[in-house]
């Protein structure tokens, strides 16, 4: 069992501003939770508090039903993967992976066997004698994973572990992490600023901004029912379009609110359709693969929509209509930004 509960966690640094303002999280056994948010939102601080690398003076951290505020990192039995991997440069890959076991006085034969087994899983066997300096970025990342996996623990903290990898490797490692999670059934808390990573990996996502937890829910729930304007704009590519209800042509929904329209809910028309639509001028098209992102200018500002690549696409400069569905629109309070 490995659950983590955070109750009213607040954190300030000496002579600095408060970086966390009362965060509550309940992370269940075997759950994959991604903490996502822009730089400086406090997500890494939250992770470091769970790890014990920062002192938690306000609030309570409970790990496996036991208060952990006063426990040093080495007594929390949590493995962590760092953004820059933090591999010991003077140790070989094998020694790096086995170091945690060595510190826990596991006999040499047992720990080497365990390290080799983990290395085999991560396809690191050919590099066991190499030092981290002689490895590529992807291999280093896998060693960092291996070091965490070799430990006899079922709680893993990952601080932006994929951010230093190129796109192809990042996608491959993302799948690998998901596979490992499924196989080990471990509890994982993963920090990232990449919303695609968050949506694709998480069982539940915690969205943070300026030290406040904005929403903690499943990826689908967060995408479909964002708690506020920030969450709506942070998750989803391209970003959600926002227009005031009064500026939406043919709007039949609630008035005096901000309307959020996901680009993938807008349908492109080259002639004015019978249904409610917004008139726009196409300014730019951007191919992303099977789909094309349409950047348009409307009377109420810039908007984007998604069209299928095979569709008969207009040329930049042409007049188009974006049909919307009132039921699919998200409504936010004009002042607080909260979902209404």
């Amino acid at each position: 069992m490995s659950s983590i509960t955070l109750r009213d966690i607040r954190k300030s640094y000496a002579n600095g501003p408060r970086v966390l303002h009362g965060v509550d999280l309940d992370i269940g056994d075997g759950e994959f939770v991604v903490i996502v948010g822009p730089s400086g939102c406090g997500k890494s601080t939250l992770l470091r508090l769970i790890a014990g690398l920062e002192r938690c003076e306000e609030g309570e951290i409970v790990i496996d039903g036991r208060r952990a505020n006063e426990l040093p990192p080495q007594d929390r039995n949590i493995a962590m993967i760092f953004q820059n991997y933090a591999l010991y440069p003077h140790m070989s890959v094998l020694e790096n992976i086995a170091f945690g076991l060595e510190l826990r006085k596991v006999p040499r034969k047992t720990r080497e066997a365990r390290a080799r087994e983990v290395a085999e899983t991560l396809q690191l066997t050919p590099y066991l004698d190499r030092k981290p300096g002689a490895l590529s970025g992807g291999q280093r990342q896998r060693v960092a994973m291996g070091r965490a996996m070799a430990r006899d623990t079922s709680t893993f903290l990952m601080d932006e572990p994929l951010s230093n990898l190129d796109n192809a490797l990042r996608n491959a490692m993302r799948t690998e992490i998901k596979t490992i999670h499924q196989r080990l059934g471990a509890t994982i808390v993963f920090v990232t600023h990449d919303q695609t990573e968050a949506l694709s990996l998480a069982d539940r996502i915690a969205v943070m901004k300026d030290g406040y937890l904005q929403q903690f829910d499943t990826p689908a729930a967060i995408y479909d029912r964002p708690a506020n304007r920030f969450v709506a704009s942070f998750l989803g590519t391209p970003k959600m379009n926002f227009v005031t209800s009064d500026a939406v042509t043919g709007w039949t929904g609630r008035r005096g609110v901000e309307v959020g329209l996901r680009p993938d809910t807008l349908r492109l028309h080259r002639k004015k359709p019978g249904a409610a639509s917004i008139e726009a001028r196409l300014t730019l098209t951007e191919m992303t693969g099977s789909e094309v992102v349409l950047h348009c200018q409307t009377q109420s500002g810039a908007m984007s929509a998604i069209a299928h690549r095979r569709q008969d696409l207009p040329a930049p400069g042409e007049r188009i209509w974006l049909e919307y569905d009132v039921a699919a629109a998200h409504l936010f309070d004009m002042h607080s930004g909260a979902r209404v």
Partner: protein
């Protein structure tokens, strides 16, 4: 530059380097050469190879004992000095504690105090503790090096803190982090500081002169100085004998330097670019 001119330039550079090296080495080589001459041959301008000077220095003037004393004192001072400096450096580099900055300021301030100023207080302290004329009296005042602590602290600050944190997450205690992570990574700096501590203690003359009066505890530097006064020669110093004693004095340091030279140079240059 063509391959021919670059080869010629390389020859010139090598030649000049050898010449400069020869100029620097010449006093040492001359003294070693002189140590193998008889006194008569040296003063008459002749050449007469002998090992007698070494025999006299070791047998008659007790240089084997002085050598042993120097090795014991310098060895222990280096071992204890580098250990304390490394631990202090780790604490100053990695932990925030009440008065830490003040303490570090005090350590740095010791670099500005001329060592001779501490002679009398150290002498009085050790005299009261009854430690004069003992190895402890030679060793204790030298085991704290403000410069080594300062240098190593700067080096350790250059090591990413994430490595310590990774070790803590792996289950290490602060002492384990120091021993298994920081020390191996800081090896070049530690080697370089250790050698500097060793050389400084090996060449230390004033403190042993003040603290020791028993000849059995003389270090090489004291023994060497006494050789001028006690050697026979009726107004004439027996230079070949002095040079034999000098050679005994410098050889261990030279050997040590050759062994850790690579680390020493790396340690010094690394401090410059960190």
């Amino acid at each position: 530059m063509t391959p021919e001119t670059s080869a010629r330039a390389l020859w010139i550079i090598n030649g000049l380097t050898l010449l400069v090296a020869a100029i620097f080495l010449s006093p040492v080589l001359y003294s070693i050469w002189m140590s193998f001459q008889t006194s008569d041959a040296y003063y008459s301008g002749g050449v007469d190879f002998t090992l007698r000077n070494y025999d006299v220095a070791v047998g008659q003037y007790n240089f084997a004992r002085y050598l042993l004393n120097s090795v014991i004192v310098s060895g222990i001072v280096t071992l204890l000095g580098i250990s304390f400096a490394t631990m202090a450096a780790f604490a100053f580099a990695r932990f925030e504690f009440r008065g830490g900055n003040l303490m570090f300021g005090a350590v740095v301030a010791t670099l500005m105090i001329p060592s001779h100023i501490t002679l009398i207080p150290n002498y009085l302290t050790l005299a009261r503790a009854g430690m004069l004329d003992s190895y402890a009296g030679l060793i204790l005042p030298a085991i704290s090096s403000g410069f080594a602590a300062f240098f190593l602290r700067q080096y350790i600050r250059g090591i990413p803190r994430a490595l310590d944190e990774a070790a803590y997450m792996d289950g290490a205690t602060p002492l384990k982090v120091l021993w298994r992570v920081i020390v191996p990574i800081s090896k070049p700096a530690i080697f370089s500081m250790a050698l500097q501590l060793f050389i400084a203690e090996w060449n230390n003359y004033i403190w042993p002169l003040v603290a020791i009066s028993e000849s059995d505890l003389y270090t090489l530097q004291i023994g060497l100085a006494r050789l001028y006064r006690v050697n026979p020669g009726e107004d004439v110093i027996d230079w070949p004998l002095v040079m034999a004693a000098s050679t005994i004095t410098i050889l261990p340091v030279l050997l040590g330097f050759v062994l850790v030279e690579r680390h020493l140079v790396r340690g010094i240059t690394m401090g410059a670019v960190k």
